[in-house]
Amino acid sequence: MTAPLVASSAGDVLVWVVWVAAAFACVASGVAVISFRNPFYSALALIGNLASLAVLYLLLAAELVAAAQVLVYAGAVVVMFLFVIAYLGGQADAPWAGGPNVQKLASVLASAAILAEIVAALALKAGDRLSRAAQVSSAFGSPRRIGQLFLTDHLLAFEITSVVLLVAAVGGVVLGSHARRVDEGEEG
């Protein structure tokens, strides 16, 4: 625990290997998402990203979240993306094309600054408790536990989530509806 890079057992080594692979995949697919010219490929890269994240979630004992990540996110959301992209046809732009150069430079600088801050904040904290993970039971993050939480402590959040989804659905319908429906018979 005090020396995290020194594996204390074979299981640890495996975890490390998986972590490194997943982390690499995560970063690589993330970069791919914002680098492809074609949104279609970006969307596909996002699936990879989500999958690698699911792996990481598993490592973090978040089974339900990992499952949801794959099923809901990769399975539903990104597929919706793909449908829309397919519907719209391949409109593409070069990642670095257009816009003022100041914008690009400043964007990189600002992003780098934010990253540096996050990392610095973590580093300031790293020697402290942050490097230790809590001891948790095997039930930690299980669907049952999460489900319990959703019905007890986070009952309201659960309900609100559904409301948000409902509102979004209505919004999506309103915006995307194709029907030439005209209310009240007013002029078209």
């Binding site: 801050e117 996050i118 610095a120 904040a121 973590l122 300031l124 904290k125 942050l130 049952r144 319990q148 019905l151 007890t152 402590d153 986070h154 009952l155 309201l156 959040a157 609100i160 989530t161 409301v163 948000v164 509102v167 979004a168 209505v170 919004g171 309103v174 915006l175 429906r181 005209v182 209310d183 009240e184 018979g185 007013e186 078209g188």
Partner: protein, 494 residues
């Protein structure tokens, strides 16, 4: 293994304003599907208006029945007068907005419009009572998503879609930061509930914790974004201009109310230990907002855009109440929100009326002579402009006076001076509107007055009259309102 689920007791009254609105939203959406086209708009509007009135009543009841702040539903929300008063303001703003909207006919989705309006208001009514980070995030998204759609709803209007997409992108960007900030706060303290965060900080000596402070910074940015405080304001002018005018009015009043009330609650409840940090940060936002909002408004010709920048500068004034971090500040904030909401909605309402008459964007040029052609609108707009400028005989003056007093008591006389300098600059454009509507005639500008007189829009006129009444009455009847605001702000740990 069967687990006995200890479902938390639900305090329905605490949620009633949001629930009433949510219910109305559902009814309106059902109306959009079930009713014949001709009846959708009146039914949906009526239902929504009744719901806003109901929400107002519920909020008033809540205000009366919540002498002590108490967490309800497992601490997700808190039942207190602070939230109740804010919810009442939101409900009032919504009611006025329905009046403003009624005369506006979209090519389609008339009923959905009211449904979404009620839905976003429900989100707001919920958010002002939210007491943990998750509820806050969800509440924010709730109202935001509804607003994204509302902004883009009038797809025929030039710029409406652009406004919607811009709002969505920048809004999504902002809420991502807010979320990351929440994550950091959560990580630093291990708590999601606002009072719990403060307790954890004091219990574990996390006052200067790097993660917590970094999270605080991101939270501030996210809140600043919602309140359209500079430098996080940049979406505001574009979205306000592009969105349908009633929506703009509603956003400028209700969204801002919610954002500053939330900021007050969040910062005061969760971060009392970092007050020295965030009060200064908020003061920075105040200065930036006052500077940017007023300077940019100075050179606008489009009235909606000008009012958008004016709302940026008002974010500055409102945040003064937050920056003061005192009972007086919270009181000032709550007081100020009442006339501010009325003035803001009222101003956009007059713009909406003119827009309907001219069928083109309202600029300073084409409101020339409005004051004489439409006496009610003219007088009202005059009052709203004076109120926004903080001139006496409107509640805007008292509000400004209170927030300035609050920052003075915080020891920041420099901020008082900044606020007053900003007021001096703002006069130029507020009075520019008065000048346009009364002192210039269409003939002078070579613009023919709009032909004929538009159909009377009673709902709109009633809304304007109501706004006017609130604007003026809040000046004369300071005592009862400020008492209310004082009681409400007592709920916060200030």
């Amino acid at each position: 293994m069967a687990v006995a689920l200890a479902t938390p007791p639900v305090d329905w009254l605490a949620l009633s304003p949001a629930l009433v609105l949510l219910g109305a939203s559902s009814v309106a959406l059902l109306a959009a599907v079930l009713l014949p086209p001709a009846r959708r708009r009146p039914v949906a509007a009526t239902v929504t208006a009744l719901a806003f009135a109901g929400a107002l009543a519920c909020a008033s009841l809540l205000l009366d029945r919540s002498p002590r702040a108490e967490p309800v539903i497992a601490g997700a929300v808190v039942r207190d007068r602070f939230g109740a008063l804010a919810a009442a303001i939101v409900a009032g703003a919504g009611l006025l907005s329905v009046g403003v909207s009624y005369g506006r006919r979209f090519r389609k989705h008339n009923a959905e419009y009211y449904g979404l309006l009620a839905a976003s208001a429900a989100g707001m009514a919920f958010l002002v009572t939210a007491d943990n980070l998750m509820a806050i995030f969800l509440g924010l998204e709730w109202l935001s998503i509804a607003l994204y759609v509302l902004c883009a709803l009038d797809v025929d209007l030039r710029g409406s879609l652009e406004a919607g997409l811009k709002y969505l992108i920048v809004g999504g960007f902002g809420s991502a930061f807010l979320l990351f900030g929440f994550a950091l706060v959560y990580g630093a303290t291990g708590e999601l509930g606002l009072p719990a965060i403060a307790e954890a900080v004091s219990a574990r000596g996390l006052e200067g914790d790097a993660l917590l402070v970094a999270g605080l910074g991101m939270v501030l940015a996210g809140l600043g974004f919602k309140a359209s405080a500079a430098p996080f304001h940049m979406w505001t002018p574009d979205v306000y201009e592009g969105a349908p005018t009633p929506v703009t009015g509603f956003m400028s009043a209700a969204t801002k109310t919610v954002a500053v009330v939330l900021a007050m609650r969040l910062l005061a409840t969760a971060f009392p230990a970092q007050a020295e940090l965030w009060t200064w940060a908020v003061a920075g936002l105040v200065v930036a907002s006052l500077a940017v909002g007023n300077l940019a408004a100075l050179v606008q010709r489009n009235l909606k855009r000008m009012l958008a920048y004016s709302s940026v500068s008002h974010a500055g004034f409102l945040l003064m109440g937050v920056a003061a971090n005192s009972a007086l500040g919270a009181k000032a904030l709550l007081y100020y929100l009442i006339p501010y909401s009325a003035m803001s909605i009222g101003a956009f309402a007059v713009v909406a009326a003119r827009e309907r008459e001219l069928a083109r964007p309202v600029t300073l040029d084409n409101v020339a002579g409005l004051g004489w052609e439409r006496p009610l609108h003219g007088v009202a707009l005059w009052a709203f402009m004076l109120g926004l400028a903080g001139m006496p005989l409107t509640g805007g003056f008292v509000g400004k006076f209170y927030v300035l007093s609050a920052v003075y008591n915080r020891g920041w006389i420099w901020l008082v001076i900044v606020g007053l300098a900003a007021t001096a600059v703002s006069l130029y454009y507020y009075l520019g509107v008065v000048r346009a509507i009364y002192m210039q005639t269409p003939g002078e500008l070579g613009i023919a007055p709009a032909g004929g007189s538009p159909p009377r829009d009673l709902a709109l006129d009633a809304a304007i009259l109501l706004c006017l009444a609130v604007t003026v009455a809040s000046f004369f009847a300071v005592e009862p309102i400020i008492d209310l605001a004082g009681k409400a702000s007592a709920a916060l740990p200030l």
